[in-house]
Symmetry: C2
Subunit: 150 residues, 2 copies
DNA sequence: CAATAATGATTCACAATATGAATGATTCAA
DNA sequence: TTGAATCATTCATATTGTGAATCATTATTG
């Protein structure tokens, strides 16, 4: 006889990645909380670091969130001294966000925390499988809409 | 020279799985919405199907949510005729949830939807990498707390 | 056995998160 | 130059989740 119960739903990649993603994000959130950050703050820092200064509208678009949400994220990071927020002289409607040295340092801390989680995640994982996982993620991350860590 | 920018934060598994998980869960949520379900409803159906009837406290524990949240989930599924909710005769404090035939059918629909997402996800993925991905997920899914799809 | 503690389900008040509509400033197009 | 579009911001609102309080029931224990 074949297998009786094929682990309905929970056997799918969609379900497993969904659950694991939430678990990891919650853990990441707990570990960056002492820095005064939430995952979306870290996502914004990373965006600015990797893609350079951006207006709030551009950042919101890139992160897949409403522009109104970005106001609060930028407020917070500005309070922490992690970014500057200046009117674009060429178009004074735009608020241009740019990382400060403090922001870069903060991002590095987030990065270290994420890497520590990676270490735990891949602890009992065949190195070849870990490499394949990275390839698979790269292939899947071009998937449909973009949205940054919540 | 070595690579200048190592994709700060966004290069980590933690970040990538977090983002992908949210993206996938949002997509899954959109596709099961016509069934009148949200991801947590589907998670509860799957729990009952895969592990048998459970009290609400047990289900909440297994899903990693507050018992008070489970009340509403069970209400909804009961309204849809997807589960029965009966006092345990042996301990009349416990409400025991059990799948109905309609609930099983509903879960099968969710399963099909998740499988369709899997198909898209793995479309341009080396089959060997897809297999490795499954192994990696299996290894990582024993990770810390449990929480079901949100 | 009686009194007290613990457990399960439920309701409720509340916090956190996100959205979209409205507003005001500015820029673009006709 | 007038009207439409864009950007940032605020505000009202929806959604989601939690924990405290309550009530019924069951366990404990003096």
């Amino acid at each position: 006889m074949s297998k009786q119960s094929p682990a309905e739903l929970t056997g799918t990649l969609a379900f497993q990645i969904g659950v694991l993603g939430t678990t990891i994000t919650d853990l990441f959130a707990a570990r960056i909380a002492p820095l005064g950050l939430k995952p979306k703050h870290a996502g914004l820092l990373a965006l600015l670091a990797n893609q350079g200064a951006r207006s709030q509208a551009e950042a919101a678009e890139a992160m897949g969130v409403a522009p109104s949400l970005l106001v609060g994220l930028a407020d917070r990071l500005q309070d922490l001294g992690a970014l500057t927020r200046e009117r674009d002289p060429g178009d004074r409607r735009r608020q241009v966000l740019a990382l400060t040295a403090d922001g870069t340092a903060l991002l590095k801390s987030c990065n270290r925390i994420a890497e520590a989680i990676d270490t735990d995640l891949t602890a009992d994982l065949d190195p070849a499988d870990a490499a394949a996982l990275r390839r698979a993620l790269a292939a899947m991350t071009g998937f449909e809409p973009r949205r940054v860590l919540s």
